[in-house]
Amino acid sequence: MTEKELLNKIIEGDRKAFTGFYDKFQSQVFRTAIGYFHNHYDAEEVVQDVFVEVHRSASKFDNKSSLSTWLYRITVNKSIDKLRFQKSVKRFSFLSSIFSDEENRFREDIPDSTNHGIQADNKESEKIIHQAMNRLPETQRTAFVLTQVEDLSGKEAAEIMKTTSKAVESLIQRAKANLRKELGKIYDNRRK
């Protein structure tokens, strides 16, 4: 079955096709989301948002790019939307805490606790990385996640980000430099 046929079946409401699509692509979406959030909870929320969006806008897929590229784009957009939302929630946390219940409270700083194999050291590292990554501009963060976490080529990342390979290379260099700077600061603070 071609990608277009698969999407057509999803548009027609074929649940089996949708489940097959989910099984095929959920790990790709999850990995990308983990690259942004470094915790299970937020990554799963992104997976949910992405596949709901796929179901809603399957008819809009124009075949100009591959299905995987289209899915990466949706994942990147949903992750950035969520990051922006989390930042705005953090900004108004004093207000939202009045309305928010314990379950829905902001979880940005909570590292993955549902993953049984992860050791305490890993959790601490994830927290530190998340803190440093949060300081990166969105484009640098996206270039870093796509090329370093997802192991995509500069060309593939450029297609997803709708930019040039050169621009992606530059973004990765700047992302790494900024990460080194931020991690250096964190290291110094921990030693104080």
Partner: protein, 99 residues
């Protein structure tokens, strides 16, 4: 060759760790059920807003109300200032007339 110090090694390890998150590469099975729940709600035309959306709407309404109160308050102060100015000017004129 320059030896890397402890800080540089730590930073490089962290960057390597950032490239290879330690979490598993799969979402839990329950995520698919959640997706179907959302899709079912949409297909059944269930447009009842969630509690989360309700709270957000309440927050926005409060902000708009606060903004309106601020604008009205500011306008009233401005008006009062104008009235006071006019009165002072009027009195002065009246006094001048007396002389």
């Amino acid at each position: 060759m320059k030896m890397k110090n402890e800080k540089e090694i730590w930073v490089e390890n962290m960057i390597r760790h950032a490239s290879k998150p330690s979490s598993t590469s799969n979402a839990q099975e329950s995520v698919l059920n959640k997706i179907y729940n959302v899709l079912d709600k949409a297909e059944n035309g269930n447009n009842i807003i969630s509690f989360k959306q309700f709270k957000l709407a309440g927050l926005v309404a409060m902000l708009i109300l606060a903004l309106n109160i601020g604008i009205i308050g500011f306008t009233m102060i401005q008006k009062n200032n104008k009235i006071e100015n006019t009165t002072t000017y009027g009195l002065n004129t009246y006094n001048l007339d007396l002389y």
